[in-house]
């Protein structure tokens, strides 16, 4: 039975659009954490300390091969067991930030590995400190090859934010479910959520491709 109700659609649309704001906020915050923490993970695997490299490497593998939704539950519920209460937002941002940091660290790792050895030797012969070598020579060159992967994961993190609804973060999916259980109508809310996701993720993905080409042209890489 197909009965799409337009009056109902327009009634719930403002609520869903408000919730979209929360979804975007969660994606941007989570991505911010992931971008920084991912770099830390990637650099930690390049230190001379074998033990540190090993631990970080295994941790990244572990986080990458287990479900995000389970990690969200873990972070949210394990804290209180040891007397540490986290709000749904805090727990959600930690979980999603850590998860994507481990993905991004792999992207950075690929980028860092693609910097030619000669660049390191040149930096050494110019007597640059390790810090300066990384921040002035290596990372700027490692960034462009990483951009495609970084862009994919920006869209990826956005699409994974509905999982935050399981611990009660009032994002899009959570709001749609709430509307569904108030009105017993699921057709419009869930369909609208799908359309909102499409309306944001498709242009973003296209925009990222344009941006990536622009950066490569600016840096004279293609």
């Amino acid at each position: 039975m197909f009965d799409w109700r337009w009056d109902f659609t327009f009634e719930i649309l403002p609520r869903l659009i408000m919730a979209t704001g929360n979804t975007l906020l969660a994606a941007v915050l989570g991505y911010g954490i992931a971008v920084v923490l991912g770099l830390v993970f990637a650099l930690a695997q390049r230190t001379p300390y074998r033990a540190l490299t090993f631990v970080v490497r295994e941790a990244v593998e572990f986080i990458r091969s287990t479900p995000l939704v389970l990690q969200i539950f873990f972070v949210f519920y394990v804290g209180p067991q040891f007397g540490l209460r986290l709000s749904p937002w805090t727990a959600g941002m930690i979980a999603i930030g850590l998860h994507y940091a481990s993905y991004l660290s792999e992207v950075y790792r690929g980028g860092l590995d693609s910097v030619p050895k000669g660049q390191w030797e040149a930096a050494t012969s110019l007597n640059l400190s390790t810090r300066r070598t990384y921040f002035r020579v290596v990372i700027p060159q490692a960034l462009p090859p990483s951009l495609a992967g970084m862009g994919n994961y920006l869209v990826g993190i956005f699409k994974d934010t509905p999982m935050l609804s399981v611990i009660g973060v009032a994002e899009l999916m959570h709001t749609a479910t709430a509307i569904g259980s108030e009105t017993y109508r699921y057709l419009e809310p869930y369909t609208l959520v799908g359309l909102i996701f499409l309306a944001i993720s498709l242009p973003t993905a296209a925009g990222i491709r344009v941006f990536e080409r622009w950066v490569r042209r600016k840096l004279g890489l293609s």
Partner: protein, 221 residues
């Protein structure tokens, strides 16, 4: 309660959940591979309607969240007269979602089979279907297998979401146990380790083996 007492008491529920997760993973993989092949080949069709259908499918499933798709299939499809049992809805959603990602892998791999192979097949007067099946696909398979390894781990992780429509998989079981015992570190921690073991010590080695097997099959060992 010590961890061993915990395992003794809830071990069988965790085990049954693990088996359901594995079954879901296998079924969703079969579906995803079939869809990926179909959608990937359709997308390369010269017929605009065929390739357009595949493109719309791929963009919709890659552009929205798995959770949204799962809820839509489970809560909204019945309104159209298609009621899927929750277990079926679960693996269909996961399979269709990962199938869309797989379709792009299939397309990319087929396009990267060297041109000479296509020309050689043409010169041998093979029909298009035969050329695809005997020459192009086996080589494309070899190219895309490493990426499928990653995709299957994503698929395994995706199956955890079906717990949200009450399919009794590993995620669901530990959530239930946590609800009665509040031993969150033990329950969720155990589940994390089991998912990791499945991904790292079952899926990854299996895919490595499959890669070597396929290399032998096409004579590149």
């Amino acid at each position: 309660m010590s961890y061993f007492e915990f395992l003794g008491q809830y071990g069988d529920r965790i085990l049954s959940g693990t088996l359901v997760t594995m079954l879901l993973t296998v079924l969703a993989t079969v579906l995803a591979v079939a869809i990926a092949l179909a959608a990937g080949l359709m997308r390369m069709s010269k017929n605009g309607l065929v390739s357009g259908t595949a493109t719309v499918y791929i963009e919709i499933f890659r552009g929205t969240s798995l959770l949204v798709q799962l809820y839509w299939i489970f809560f909204v499809l019945p309104l159209f007269g298609i009621t899927l049992e929750k277990f079926t809805a679960g693996f269909v959603a996961v399979g269709m979602n990962l199938g869309a990602y797989g379709a792009e892998l299939v397309r990319g791999a087929i396009l990267s089979v060297p041109r000479g192979q296509w020309e050689a097949a043409l010169a041998l007067n093979m029909s298009p279907a035969r050329r695809m099946r005997r020459v192009i696909l086996p080589q494309a398979l070899l190219i895309m297998l490493p990426s499928w390894g990653n995709l299957l781990i994503e698929l395994l992780k995706g199956t955890a979401l079906v717990a949200l429509i009450a399919v009794a998989d590993l995620m669901f079981q530990v959530k239930q146990i946590n609800g009665t015992t509040f031993l969150s570190a033990q329950t969720f921690g155990t589940a994390l380790i089991i998912y990791y073991v499945i991904a790292r010590f079952m899926i990854t080695p299996f895919m490595r083996w499959l890669e070597r097997f396929m290399q032998r099959m096409v004579g590149r060992a």
